[in-house]
Protein backbone atom coordinates (compact mmCIF):
# COMPACT_ATOMS: atom_id res chain seq x y z
CA UNK A 1 0.00 0.00 0.00
CA UNK A 2 2.05 2.91 -1.30
CA UNK A 3 0.15 5.90 0.01
CA UNK A 4 0.79 9.55 0.36
CA UNK A 5 0.97 9.96 4.12
CA UNK A 6 0.61 13.18 6.06
CA UNK A 7 1.70 13.38 9.70
CA UNK A 8 0.18 15.87 12.05
CA UNK A 9 0.88 16.60 15.70
CA UNK A 10 -2.39 17.36 17.42
CA UNK A 11 -1.17 20.18 19.70
CA UNK A 12 -2.40 22.98 17.41
CA UNK A 13 -5.66 21.41 16.28
CA UNK A 14 -6.91 21.78 12.71
CA UNK A 15 -5.36 25.23 12.31
CA UNK A 16 -4.31 27.02 9.13
CA UNK A 17 -1.06 25.06 9.05
CA UNK A 18 -2.86 21.71 9.33
CA UNK A 19 -5.36 22.80 6.68
CA UNK A 20 -2.60 23.83 4.27
CA UNK A 21 -0.77 20.54 4.83
CA UNK A 22 -3.99 18.64 4.13
CA UNK A 23 -4.56 20.66 0.96
CA UNK A 24 -1.05 20.03 -0.33
CA UNK A 25 -1.30 16.32 0.49
CA UNK A 26 -4.72 15.95 -1.15
CA UNK A 27 -3.59 17.54 -4.39
CA UNK A 28 -0.43 15.42 -4.54
CA UNK A 29 -2.49 12.26 -3.94
CA UNK A 30 -5.04 13.17 -6.62
CA UNK A 31 -2.42 14.08 -9.21
CA UNK A 32 -0.81 10.70 -8.71
CA UNK A 33 -3.86 8.50 -8.20
CA UNK A 34 -2.73 7.67 -4.70
CA UNK A 35 -4.61 7.17 -1.47
CA UNK A 36 -4.12 9.80 1.22
CA UNK A 37 -3.59 8.59 4.74
CA UNK A 38 -3.29 10.95 7.69
CA UNK A 39 -1.47 10.02 10.87
CA UNK A 40 -2.56 12.02 13.89
CA UNK A 41 -0.09 11.95 16.76
CA UNK A 42 -0.76 13.03 20.31
CA UNK A 43 -3.46 13.70 22.87
CA UNK A 44 -6.83 14.55 21.37
CA UNK A 45 -6.15 12.71 18.10
CA UNK A 46 -9.50 10.95 18.41
CA UNK A 47 -11.50 14.19 18.43
CA UNK A 48 -9.48 15.73 15.62
CA UNK A 49 -9.86 12.59 13.49
CA UNK A 50 -13.51 13.15 12.53
CA UNK A 51 -12.69 16.65 11.30
CA UNK A 52 -9.73 15.44 9.26
CA UNK A 53 -11.63 12.43 7.88
CA UNK A 54 -13.68 14.79 5.66
CA UNK A 55 -10.54 15.40 3.57
CA UNK A 56 -8.59 12.14 3.49
CA UNK A 57 -9.08 8.46 2.68
CA UNK A 58 -7.94 7.18 6.04
CA UNK A 59 -7.08 8.63 9.43
CA UNK A 60 -4.74 6.72 11.73
CA UNK A 61 -5.16 7.78 15.34
CA UNK A 62 -2.03 7.48 17.49
CA UNK A 63 -2.87 8.74 20.97
CA UNK A 64 -1.40 6.02 23.20
CA UNK A 65 -0.32 7.40 26.60
CA UNK A 66 3.39 7.03 25.72
CA UNK A 67 3.05 9.43 22.78
CA UNK A 68 0.19 11.61 24.05
CA UNK A 69 2.85 14.19 24.84
CA UNK A 70 5.60 14.73 22.28
CA UNK A 71 9.07 13.38 22.93
CA UNK A 72 11.48 13.13 20.00
CA UNK A 73 12.85 9.61 20.39
CA UNK A 74 9.59 7.83 21.25
CA UNK A 75 7.51 9.68 18.64
CA UNK A 76 10.16 9.03 15.99
CA UNK A 77 10.04 5.31 16.77
CA UNK A 78 6.26 5.27 16.49
CA UNK A 79 6.19 7.33 13.31
CA UNK A 80 8.85 5.20 11.61
CA UNK A 81 6.61 2.16 12.09
CA UNK A 82 3.47 3.93 10.89
CA UNK A 83 5.05 5.30 7.70
CA UNK A 84 7.21 2.35 6.65
CA UNK A 85 5.16 1.58 3.51
CA UNK A 86 4.65 5.21 2.45
CA UNK A 87 5.62 6.62 -0.93
CA UNK A 88 5.67 10.22 0.26
CA UNK A 89 5.48 11.52 3.82
CA UNK A 90 4.40 15.13 4.24
CA UNK A 91 4.72 17.15 7.44
CA UNK A 92 4.20 20.75 8.45
CA UNK A 93 7.00 23.12 9.45
CA UNK A 94 6.31 23.31 13.19
CA UNK A 95 9.33 22.66 15.40
CA UNK A 96 8.39 19.04 16.16
CA UNK A 97 7.96 18.17 12.49
CA UNK A 98 11.21 19.90 11.54
CA UNK A 99 13.01 18.04 14.28
CA UNK A 100 11.70 14.62 13.34
CA UNK A 101 11.56 14.70 9.50
CA UNK A 102 15.25 14.17 8.58
CA UNK A 103 15.62 11.38 11.13
CA UNK A 104 12.42 9.75 9.88
CA UNK A 105 13.78 9.82 6.32
CA UNK A 106 17.00 8.19 7.55
CA UNK A 107 15.10 5.39 9.31
CA UNK A 108 12.97 4.75 6.23
CA UNK A 109 16.08 4.80 3.97
CA UNK A 110 14.49 7.71 2.14
CA UNK A 111 15.38 11.35 1.53
CA UNK A 112 14.09 14.46 3.26
CA UNK A 113 13.86 18.08 2.28
CA UNK A 114 12.28 20.90 4.19
CA UNK A 115 10.53 24.23 4.20
CA UNK A 116 8.99 23.43 0.81
CA UNK A 117 6.73 25.97 -0.86
CA UNK A 118 5.93 23.61 -3.73
CA UNK A 119 5.95 19.84 -4.13
CA UNK A 120 5.20 17.60 -7.09
CA UNK A 121 5.97 14.17 -8.42
CA UNK A 122 7.01 13.13 -11.95
CA UNK A 123 7.55 9.49 -12.86
CA UNK A 124 7.74 8.72 -9.20
CA UNK A 125 10.42 11.33 -8.49
CA UNK A 126 9.51 13.97 -5.91
CA UNK A 127 10.68 17.53 -6.52
CA UNK A 128 10.43 20.30 -3.96
CA UNK A 129 10.75 24.06 -4.39
CA UNK A 130 12.26 25.97 -1.49
CA UNK A 131 13.97 29.23 -0.69
CA UNK A 132 17.73 29.15 -0.20
CA UNK A 133 20.47 31.71 0.55
CA UNK A 134 18.23 33.41 3.09
CA UNK A 135 15.42 33.85 0.58
CA UNK A 136 17.64 35.45 -2.08
CA UNK A 137 17.23 32.46 -4.39
CA UNK A 138 14.84 29.64 -5.01
CA UNK A 139 15.94 26.07 -5.64
CA UNK A 140 14.26 23.03 -7.11
CA UNK A 141 15.47 19.92 -5.32
CA UNK A 142 15.07 16.37 -6.53
CA UNK A 143 14.84 13.65 -3.92
CA UNK A 144 16.81 10.55 -4.87
CA UNK A 145 15.49 7.98 -2.42
CA UNK A 146 12.08 6.70 -1.56
CA UNK A 147 10.12 7.51 0.47
CA UNK A 148 10.37 11.26 0.13
CA UNK A 149 9.91 12.93 3.51
CA UNK A 150 9.00 16.58 3.01
CA UNK A 151 8.14 19.25 5.51
CA UNK A 152 6.22 22.11 3.99
CA UNK A 153 5.73 25.79 4.69
CA UNK A 154 2.16 24.59 5.09
CA UNK A 155 0.43 27.91 5.63
CA UNK A 156 1.35 28.81 2.04
CA UNK A 157 -0.85 26.04 0.63
CA UNK A 158 -4.54 26.26 -0.15
CA UNK A 159 -6.75 24.11 2.10
CA UNK A 160 -8.49 21.03 0.71
CA UNK A 161 -12.15 20.84 -0.17
CA UNK A 162 -14.26 18.54 1.98
CA UNK A 163 -15.41 15.37 0.29
CA UNK A 164 -18.88 13.80 0.23
CA UNK A 165 -17.80 10.60 1.95
CA UNK A 166 -15.67 10.77 5.05
CA UNK A 167 -12.56 8.61 5.29
CA UNK A 168 -12.19 5.67 7.59
CA UNK A 169 -10.81 6.26 11.11
CA UNK A 170 -8.63 3.51 12.56
CA UNK A 171 -6.47 3.23 15.67
CA UNK A 172 -2.73 3.05 15.08
CA UNK A 173 -1.23 -0.41 15.23
CA UNK A 174 2.12 0.44 16.69
CA UNK A 175 4.47 -1.17 19.15
CA UNK A 176 5.62 1.73 21.30
CA UNK A 177 8.92 1.40 23.07
CA UNK A 178 9.39 4.38 25.37
CA UNK A 179 12.90 5.78 24.97
CA UNK A 180 13.99 7.55 28.16
CA UNK A 181 17.46 8.65 27.05
CA UNK A 182 15.95 12.11 26.65
CA UNK A 183 12.96 13.24 28.66
CA UNK A 184 11.03 16.51 28.63
CA UNK A 185 10.69 17.74 32.21
CA UNK A 186 9.23 21.20 31.63
CA UNK A 187 7.12 22.92 28.97
CA UNK A 188 6.51 26.65 28.95
CA UNK A 189 4.36 28.73 26.64
CA UNK A 190 5.56 32.25 25.92
CA UNK A 191 3.06 33.18 23.24
CA UNK A 192 2.71 36.89 22.72
CA UNK A 193 -1.07 36.67 22.61
CA UNK A 194 -3.87 34.22 22.09
CA UNK A 195 -3.46 34.05 18.31
CA UNK A 196 -0.37 32.66 16.60
CA UNK A 197 1.96 35.10 14.89
CA UNK A 198 1.80 32.98 11.73
CA UNK A 199 -1.95 33.57 11.54
CA UNK A 200 -1.85 37.28 12.40
CA UNK A 201 -3.57 39.66 9.97
CA UNK A 202 -1.54 42.69 11.04
CA UNK A 203 1.97 42.66 12.50
CA UNK A 204 4.00 45.49 14.00
CA UNK A 205 7.67 44.51 14.05
CA UNK A 206 10.81 46.15 15.38
CA UNK A 207 14.50 45.69 14.72
CA UNK A 208 17.86 46.61 16.13
CA UNK A 209 17.15 50.29 15.48
CA UNK A 210 14.45 50.26 18.16
CA UNK A 211 17.29 50.51 20.66
CA UNK A 212 15.98 48.67 23.74
CA UNK A 213 13.17 46.72 25.38
CA UNK A 214 11.14 49.71 26.61
CA UNK A 215 10.15 51.10 23.19
CA UNK A 216 8.89 47.60 22.30
CA UNK A 217 6.70 47.35 25.38
CA UNK A 218 5.50 50.95 25.17
CA UNK A 219 5.79 52.78 21.82
CA UNK A 220 5.33 49.77 19.54
CA UNK A 221 2.88 47.92 21.75
CA UNK A 222 0.48 50.86 21.95
CA UNK A 223 0.58 51.23 18.16
CA UNK A 224 -0.08 47.49 17.82
CA UNK A 225 -3.04 47.81 20.18
CA UNK A 226 -4.53 50.59 18.06
CA UNK A 227 -4.15 48.53 14.87
CA UNK A 228 -5.27 45.27 16.46
CA UNK A 229 -1.85 43.93 15.51
CA UNK A 230 0.50 41.33 16.94
CA UNK A 231 4.13 42.08 17.71
CA UNK A 232 7.22 40.60 16.11
CA UNK A 233 10.95 41.30 15.94
CA UNK A 234 14.16 40.61 14.06
CA UNK A 235 16.85 38.21 15.21
CA UNK A 236 19.01 41.14 16.34
CA UNK A 237 16.27 42.37 18.69
CA UNK A 238 15.69 38.85 20.04
CA UNK A 239 19.42 38.19 20.48
CA UNK A 240 19.70 41.46 22.41
CA UNK A 241 17.16 40.04 24.85
CA UNK A 242 14.71 42.90 24.28
CA UNK A 243 11.82 40.59 23.36
CA UNK A 244 11.14 36.83 23.65
CA UNK A 245 12.72 34.47 21.11
CA UNK A 246 9.20 33.42 20.07
CA UNK A 247 8.79 36.84 18.41
CA UNK A 248 11.56 36.18 15.92
CA UNK A 249 10.54 36.40 12.28
CA UNK A 250 12.91 35.32 9.53
CA UNK A 251 14.58 32.41 7.84
CA UNK A 252 14.99 30.87 11.27
CA UNK A 253 11.93 32.03 13.07
CA UNK A 254 8.34 32.51 12.17
CA UNK A 255 7.29 32.66 8.53
CA UNK A 256 4.42 35.11 8.52
CA UNK A 257 1.85 36.08 5.89
CA UNK A 258 -0.17 39.03 7.21
CA UNK A 259 -2.21 41.55 5.22
CA UNK A 260 0.01 44.27 6.68
CA UNK A 261 3.55 44.01 8.04
CA UNK A 262 4.79 47.26 9.50
CA UNK A 263 8.58 47.13 9.85
CA UNK A 264 9.89 49.75 12.26
CA UNK A 265 13.64 50.42 12.42
CA UNK A 266 14.28 47.21 10.49
CA UNK A 267 16.96 47.49 7.80
CA UNK A 268 15.83 44.35 5.97
CA UNK A 269 18.59 41.74 6.20
CA UNK A 270 17.76 38.94 3.79
CA UNK A 271 17.38 36.41 6.58
CA UNK A 272 14.59 38.57 8.02
CA UNK A 273 12.99 39.18 4.62
CA UNK A 274 12.84 35.40 4.13
CA UNK A 275 10.23 35.30 6.89
CA UNK A 276 7.95 37.96 5.40
CA UNK A 277 8.03 37.11 1.70
CA UNK A 278 4.35 36.15 1.84
CA UNK A 279 3.13 39.34 3.50
CA UNK A 280 0.53 41.06 1.30
CA UNK A 281 1.62 44.60 2.18
CA UNK A 282 4.88 45.64 3.77
CA UNK A 283 5.27 49.16 5.12
CA UNK A 284 8.36 50.57 6.79
CA UNK A 285 9.56 53.39 8.96
CA UNK A 286 13.32 53.82 8.77
CA UNK A 287 15.79 56.67 9.03
CA UNK A 288 17.85 55.29 6.13
CA UNK A 289 16.26 55.80 2.71
CA UNK A 290 18.72 53.23 1.30
CA UNK A 291 17.67 50.48 3.72
CA UNK A 292 16.93 47.26 1.78
CA UNK A 293 13.53 46.95 3.48
CA UNK A 294 12.17 49.73 1.24
CA UNK A 295 12.79 47.55 -1.83
CA UNK A 296 10.08 45.24 -0.52
CA UNK A 297 7.63 47.87 0.68
CA UNK A 298 4.29 48.93 -0.72
CA UNK A 299 4.80 52.23 1.06
CA UNK A 300 7.22 53.69 3.55
CA UNK A 301 8.47 56.76 5.29
CA UNK A 302 11.99 57.96 5.96
CA UNK A 303 11.82 59.16 9.54
CA UNK A 304 12.87 58.50 13.11
CA UNK A 305 10.19 56.29 14.62
CA UNK A 306 10.61 57.97 18.01
CA UNK A 307 9.34 61.24 16.57
CA UNK A 308 6.80 59.79 14.18
CA UNK A 309 5.03 57.13 16.23
CA UNK A 310 3.39 59.46 18.76
CA UNK A 311 1.92 61.45 15.87
CA UNK A 312 0.79 58.33 14.04
CA UNK A 313 -0.88 57.01 17.17
CA UNK A 314 -2.65 60.32 17.66
CA UNK A 315 -3.99 60.21 14.11
CA UNK A 316 -5.01 56.55 14.37
CA UNK A 317 -6.72 57.28 17.67
CA UNK A 318 -8.68 60.10 15.99
CA UNK A 319 -9.63 57.81 13.08
CA UNK A 320 -10.85 55.12 15.47
CA UNK A 321 -13.27 57.35 17.30
Amino acid sequence: MNDIVMCLFTSDGFDKSAQGLTGAARRLAEQNGAQLRAILLGAGAGELASELARFVDKVVVAEQPEIAEYSPETCLNALAQLTKDARVVLLSNDSYSQEIAPRLAHRLHGSAVGDGVGVDMHNGVVRVTRQVYGGKAEALIELKRSPAVVWLRSRSFEPALARAVAGEIIPAAVDIKPDTRTRIVERKREDSGTARLEDARIIVAGGRGIGGPEPFSQELQSLADLLGAQMAATRAACDAGWVPATWQVGQTGKKVAPELYLAIAISGASQHLAGISEAKNIAAINTDAEAPIFKHCRFGVVADYRKLLPLIRERLGALCT
Binding site: G114, T182, A245, S270
Partner: protein, 268 residues
Protein backbone atom coordinates in the same frame (compact mmCIF):
# COMPACT_ATOMS: atom_id res chain seq x y z
CA UNK B 1 33.25 15.60 29.13
CA UNK B 2 34.31 15.54 25.48
CA UNK B 3 32.45 17.92 23.21
CA UNK B 4 32.56 18.03 19.42
CA UNK B 5 31.38 21.16 17.64
CA UNK B 6 30.81 20.90 13.88
CA UNK B 7 31.23 24.13 11.93
CA UNK B 8 30.44 25.10 8.36
CA UNK B 9 32.02 27.86 6.34
CA UNK B 10 29.53 29.65 4.09
CA UNK B 11 29.21 32.61 1.78
CA UNK B 12 28.47 35.70 3.87
CA UNK B 13 24.66 35.68 4.15
CA UNK B 14 24.67 39.46 4.68
CA UNK B 15 25.54 40.03 1.01
CA UNK B 16 22.88 42.49 -0.16
CA UNK B 17 20.36 41.20 -2.68
CA UNK B 18 21.61 43.65 -5.33
CA UNK B 19 25.09 42.02 -5.29
CA UNK B 20 23.79 38.46 -5.19
CA UNK B 21 24.22 36.32 -8.35
CA UNK B 22 23.83 32.65 -9.03
CA UNK B 23 25.96 30.51 -11.31
CA UNK B 24 23.36 28.74 -13.42
CA UNK B 25 25.77 25.97 -14.43
CA UNK B 26 27.18 25.11 -11.02
CA UNK B 27 23.80 25.83 -9.42
CA UNK B 28 25.23 27.77 -6.53
CA UNK B 29 25.84 31.38 -5.56
CA UNK B 30 28.74 33.23 -7.13
CA UNK B 31 31.18 34.34 -4.50
CA UNK B 32 31.89 37.68 -6.18
CA UNK B 33 33.37 40.13 -3.70
CA UNK B 34 31.67 38.49 -0.74
CA UNK B 35 33.57 37.03 2.19
CA UNK B 36 33.47 33.48 3.44
CA UNK B 37 32.33 33.35 7.05
CA UNK B 38 31.46 30.78 9.70
CA UNK B 39 27.76 30.02 9.73
CA UNK B 40 26.28 32.01 12.62
CA UNK B 41 24.40 29.04 14.15
CA UNK B 42 27.67 27.07 14.20
CA UNK B 43 29.23 29.94 16.14
CA UNK B 44 26.22 29.91 18.49
CA UNK B 45 26.94 26.19 18.96
CA UNK B 46 30.61 26.82 19.72
CA UNK B 47 29.71 29.62 22.13
CA UNK B 48 27.23 27.33 23.91
CA UNK B 49 29.99 24.70 24.25
CA UNK B 50 32.53 27.27 25.52
CA UNK B 51 30.14 28.54 28.18
CA UNK B 52 29.39 24.97 29.25
CA UNK B 53 33.13 24.27 29.55
CA UNK B 54 33.58 27.50 31.54
CA UNK B 55 31.00 26.23 34.05
CA UNK B 56 31.98 22.56 34.39
CA UNK B 57 35.73 23.02 34.03
CA UNK B 58 36.80 19.55 32.94
CA UNK B 59 35.55 19.60 29.36
CA UNK B 60 37.46 19.49 26.09
CA UNK B 61 36.11 21.02 22.90
CA UNK B 62 37.08 19.69 19.48
CA UNK B 63 36.13 21.72 16.40
CA UNK B 64 35.42 19.85 13.16
CA UNK B 65 34.61 21.06 9.69
CA UNK B 66 33.96 19.38 6.36
CA UNK B 67 34.63 21.79 3.56
CA UNK B 68 37.09 23.20 1.05
CA UNK B 69 40.64 24.23 2.02
CA UNK B 70 39.37 27.74 2.86
CA UNK B 71 37.37 26.24 5.76
CA UNK B 72 40.68 26.26 7.64
CA UNK B 73 39.82 29.92 8.42
CA UNK B 74 36.65 28.82 10.19
CA UNK B 75 38.66 26.37 12.30
CA UNK B 76 41.40 28.93 13.07
CA UNK B 77 38.68 31.23 14.32
CA UNK B 78 37.27 28.40 16.45
CA UNK B 79 40.75 27.94 17.95
CA UNK B 80 40.94 31.69 18.57
CA UNK B 81 37.61 31.45 20.39
CA UNK B 82 39.38 28.77 22.47
CA UNK B 83 38.32 25.43 21.10
CA UNK B 84 40.97 22.90 22.20
CA UNK B 85 41.61 21.14 18.90
CA UNK B 86 40.61 21.51 15.26
CA UNK B 87 40.15 19.03 12.43
CA UNK B 88 39.39 19.77 8.80
CA UNK B 89 38.10 17.09 6.48
CA UNK B 90 38.85 18.41 3.02
CA UNK B 91 36.00 18.27 0.53
CA UNK B 92 37.52 17.93 -2.94
CA UNK B 93 34.25 16.75 -4.50
CA UNK B 94 30.76 18.21 -4.87
CA UNK B 95 30.88 21.78 -3.51
CA UNK B 96 27.31 21.53 -2.22
CA UNK B 97 27.07 17.98 -0.85
CA UNK B 98 23.61 16.94 0.33
CA UNK B 99 23.08 16.79 4.11
CA UNK B 100 23.19 13.00 4.22
CA UNK B 101 26.67 13.00 2.66
CA UNK B 102 27.81 15.60 5.19
CA UNK B 103 26.38 13.54 8.06
CA UNK B 104 28.18 10.39 6.84
CA UNK B 105 31.49 12.27 6.65
CA UNK B 106 31.04 13.97 10.04
CA UNK B 107 30.03 10.67 11.66
CA UNK B 108 33.14 8.94 10.32
CA UNK B 109 35.36 11.81 11.48
CA UNK B 110 33.66 11.85 14.91
CA UNK B 111 34.30 8.12 15.30
CA UNK B 112 37.91 8.47 14.22
CA UNK B 113 38.46 11.31 16.71
CA UNK B 114 36.58 9.18 19.23
CA UNK B 115 34.74 9.28 22.50
CA UNK B 116 32.43 12.27 22.36
CA UNK B 117 29.74 12.81 24.99
CA UNK B 118 28.16 15.76 23.25
CA UNK B 119 28.07 16.77 19.61
CA UNK B 120 26.86 20.27 18.79
CA UNK B 121 25.89 21.68 15.41
CA UNK B 122 24.10 24.80 14.23
CA UNK B 123 20.39 24.27 13.62
CA UNK B 124 20.88 25.11 9.94
CA UNK B 125 23.26 27.00 7.67
CA UNK B 126 22.73 30.44 6.21
CA UNK B 127 23.39 29.29 2.65
CA UNK B 128 21.31 26.21 1.82
CA UNK B 129 19.43 26.16 5.11
CA UNK B 130 18.56 22.47 4.90
CA UNK B 131 18.35 22.02 8.68
CA UNK B 132 19.07 18.30 8.47
CA UNK B 133 22.72 17.59 9.28
CA UNK B 134 22.28 17.33 13.05
CA UNK B 135 19.38 14.89 12.90
CA UNK B 136 21.04 12.75 10.23
CA UNK B 137 24.31 12.71 12.18
CA UNK B 138 22.44 11.48 15.27
CA UNK B 139 20.97 8.65 13.18
CA UNK B 140 24.37 7.75 11.70
CA UNK B 141 25.79 7.54 15.24
CA UNK B 142 22.70 5.92 16.74
CA UNK B 143 22.31 8.51 19.50
CA UNK B 144 19.38 10.75 20.50
CA UNK B 145 19.04 14.30 19.21
CA UNK B 146 17.54 17.46 20.64
CA UNK B 147 16.97 20.27 18.15
CA UNK B 148 16.89 24.07 18.56
CA UNK B 149 18.74 23.92 21.90
CA UNK B 150 19.91 27.19 23.46
CA UNK B 151 21.63 26.15 26.71
CA UNK B 152 23.18 23.16 28.49
CA UNK B 153 23.60 22.64 32.22
CA UNK B 154 24.60 19.69 34.35
CA UNK B 155 22.08 18.07 36.68
CA UNK B 156 23.85 15.33 38.64
CA UNK B 157 24.98 12.70 36.15
CA UNK B 158 22.55 14.08 33.59
CA UNK B 159 22.31 17.17 31.44
CA UNK B 160 19.54 19.73 31.41
CA UNK B 161 18.98 21.16 27.95
CA UNK B 162 16.64 24.02 27.19
CA UNK B 163 15.36 24.27 23.64
CA UNK B 164 13.07 26.64 21.79
CA UNK B 165 9.73 25.64 20.33
CA UNK B 166 7.25 27.56 18.21
CA UNK B 167 5.40 28.72 21.30
CA UNK B 168 8.04 28.89 24.06
CA UNK B 169 10.53 26.40 25.37
CA UNK B 170 11.02 22.87 26.66
CA UNK B 171 13.56 21.60 29.17
CA UNK B 172 15.01 18.12 28.63
CA UNK B 173 16.89 15.84 30.96
CA UNK B 174 19.22 13.68 28.95
CA UNK B 175 22.16 11.36 29.25
CA UNK B 176 25.17 11.56 26.96
CA UNK B 177 26.02 10.66 24.27
CA UNK B 178 23.80 13.15 22.56
CA UNK B 179 23.57 15.33 19.46
CA UNK B 180 22.26 18.88 19.89
CA UNK B 181 21.41 21.39 17.20
CA UNK B 182 21.81 24.91 18.52
CA UNK B 183 19.75 27.98 17.79
CA UNK B 184 20.50 31.62 18.52
CA UNK B 185 19.59 33.07 21.91
CA UNK B 186 20.52 36.18 23.84
CA UNK B 187 22.93 34.12 25.96
CA UNK B 188 24.89 32.41 23.15
CA UNK B 189 25.90 35.40 21.02
CA UNK B 190 29.40 34.36 19.87
CA UNK B 191 32.31 35.99 21.68
CA UNK B 192 34.85 38.09 19.80
CA UNK B 193 38.24 36.40 20.11
CA UNK B 194 41.10 38.39 21.62
CA UNK B 195 43.70 39.67 19.15
CA UNK B 196 46.37 37.70 21.04
CA UNK B 197 44.33 34.50 20.60
CA UNK B 198 43.75 35.19 16.92
CA UNK B 199 47.52 35.53 16.46
CA UNK B 200 48.17 32.34 18.42
CA UNK B 201 45.52 30.37 16.54
CA UNK B 202 47.55 30.65 13.33
CA UNK B 203 50.35 28.65 14.94
CA UNK B 204 48.25 25.98 16.64
CA UNK B 205 48.18 22.46 15.22
CA UNK B 206 45.31 21.70 12.89
CA UNK B 207 44.60 18.17 11.69
CA UNK B 208 43.75 17.74 8.04
CA UNK B 209 42.16 14.61 6.66
CA UNK B 210 40.93 13.64 3.25
CA UNK B 211 37.79 11.59 2.64
CA UNK B 212 40.05 8.58 2.03
CA UNK B 213 41.41 8.84 5.59
CA UNK B 214 37.93 8.13 6.95
CA UNK B 215 37.33 4.65 5.58
CA UNK B 216 34.00 5.52 3.96
CA UNK B 217 32.83 5.21 0.36
CA UNK B 218 34.94 8.05 -1.06
CA UNK B 219 33.24 8.02 -4.44
CA UNK B 220 29.78 8.43 -2.90
CA UNK B 221 31.05 11.18 -0.61
CA UNK B 222 32.69 13.07 -3.47
CA UNK B 223 29.51 12.72 -5.55
CA UNK B 224 27.52 14.13 -2.68
CA UNK B 225 24.08 13.77 -4.25
CA UNK B 226 22.74 10.30 -3.55
CA UNK B 227 20.21 11.75 -1.10
CA UNK B 228 19.10 14.78 -3.02
CA UNK B 229 20.25 17.03 -5.81
CA UNK B 230 19.70 20.68 -6.64
CA UNK B 231 18.36 20.68 -10.22
CA UNK B 232 17.43 24.36 -10.61
CA UNK B 233 18.49 27.56 -8.91
CA UNK B 234 17.17 31.01 -9.73
CA UNK B 235 16.73 34.45 -8.25
CA UNK B 236 12.99 35.12 -8.06
CA UNK B 237 11.92 38.43 -9.56
CA UNK B 238 10.02 40.36 -6.94
CA UNK B 239 9.55 43.92 -8.08
CA UNK B 240 7.95 46.18 -5.53
CA UNK B 241 7.92 49.91 -6.02
CA UNK B 242 7.95 51.67 -2.70
CA UNK B 243 5.77 54.72 -2.46
CA UNK B 244 7.59 57.10 -0.13
CA UNK B 245 5.09 59.07 1.91
CA UNK B 246 6.01 62.72 2.24
CA UNK B 247 4.68 65.74 4.06
CA UNK B 248 5.65 69.32 4.76
CA UNK B 249 5.46 68.91 8.51
CA UNK B 250 5.93 65.85 10.75
CA UNK B 251 2.21 66.07 11.51
CA UNK B 252 1.27 65.89 7.82
CA UNK B 253 3.68 63.03 7.30
CA UNK B 254 2.27 61.07 10.24
CA UNK B 255 -1.28 61.75 9.10
CA UNK B 256 -0.66 60.52 5.55
CA UNK B 257 1.13 57.42 6.84
CA UNK B 258 -1.53 56.69 9.45
CA UNK B 259 -4.25 57.03 6.81
CA UNK B 260 -2.55 54.39 4.66
CA UNK B 261 -2.17 52.08 7.65
CA UNK B 262 -5.81 52.57 8.64
CA UNK B 263 -6.92 51.90 5.07
CA UNK B 264 -5.33 48.45 5.04
CA UNK B 265 -6.08 47.69 8.68
CA UNK B 266 -9.70 48.66 8.17
CA UNK B 267 -10.03 46.32 5.20
CA UNK B 268 -8.67 43.37 7.17
Amino acid sequence: MNILVCLKQILDPEVPARDFRVDSTKLEAEQGAANLVTNIFCENALETALQFRDRVGNAKIAALSYGPATAEDTLRKALAMKADTATLVINDGNSKPDPYTVAVVLAAAAKKLGGFDLILLGREAGDWGAGQTGGLLAEELGVPCISFAESIETAGSKLRIRRQTDWGYEVFEAEPPLVLTITNHEHNVPRIPKVRDVMASGRQPLTKWTIRDLGIDAEAARGGNAYYEVVELAIPQRETKCEFISGDTPEELAEAFANRLAQIAGAV
